[in-house]
Assembly symmetry: C2
Homo-oligomer: 148 residues x 2
Amino acid sequence: MAQATSTDPVEVLVAALRANGGRMTAGRRAIAEVLVATHGHLTAEELLAAVADRHPDLHLSTVYRTLETLEEVGLVCHVHFGHGAAQWHLTSDDRHHLVCESCGAVTHVPASLLEPVRDELRRTYGFEASLRHFATPGRCPVCAGATD
Amino acid sequence: MAQATSTDPVEVLVAALRANGGRMTAGRRAIAEVLVATHGHLTAEELLAAVADRHPDLHLSTVYRTLETLEEVGLVCHVHFGHGAAQWHLTSDDRHHLVCESCGAVTHVPASLLEPVRDELRRTYGFEASLRHFATPGRCPVCAGATD
DNA sequence: ATCTTTGCAAACTTTTTGCACCAAT
DNA sequence: ATTGGTGCAAAAAGTTTGCAAAGAT
């Protein structure tokens, strides 16, 4: 009952939006809820659609602005899939994305799998790679097997 | 002197453009030359600029169309750097790109460095990754060291 | 009352496309 | 004479921005 700082992921996002004089609106809360509910990746447009039933007037630019705010705080980040729109997800989703260039299927891979490369790049080149910012394109098992 | 099929990289590109009834124009040849001369990465717009002195009338859409043609044949491919325009380069440039998100510096890394990851993805997920299609964003040594 | 967020429309960036004309074969 | 390439302008897709009105504190 008397719970000062909640660990409920939605509340964490809400708190971030409220920080520094930020206001909480129905639209922003809905965005936060979808972000948490959708463990997957989704584009700004998909996020808008997911919220449209309850908030038909929410505008795409508001979605972008809210995502931008959450990204600045580090709670959310976006991933570029080949061409087309970026996908957004919670930073806590500690995984990498494999996207099939042929059928669009997305596979999640634990980020730890890429650690060896990060280490190598850091050791050899002094480069701090942020590998999660990009998805890895390629061919999924089904499409790689097909003779198309 | 009597050299039927040249191995000069420019001639390879020219031959590809000529294949299947394709015509050779001054603009196309200039694009091929710049592509070979610039071992690095460059955007369509940069390519246009690099050619502008000799072919001021060459249009950006022509650059895109020529690059597209060469990509279909597999001689050229493009890489997405974070936001902004894609970078184009010869496929034979067998390397991966590290781009500093802070200062924009580009480091080349032999593609072989990423082979272990490719193998792992293939083995564990049956996924055929085309890692070169994307650049790896992050922080270069200078910017990673800075306290900014 | 104040200061933030919103909706809207319009700009913006990168890339693609339709079309009539020109040029390479 | 064909067929394919070109310039142009306009569309397309994704994202950002300026502004006045609405809303949260």
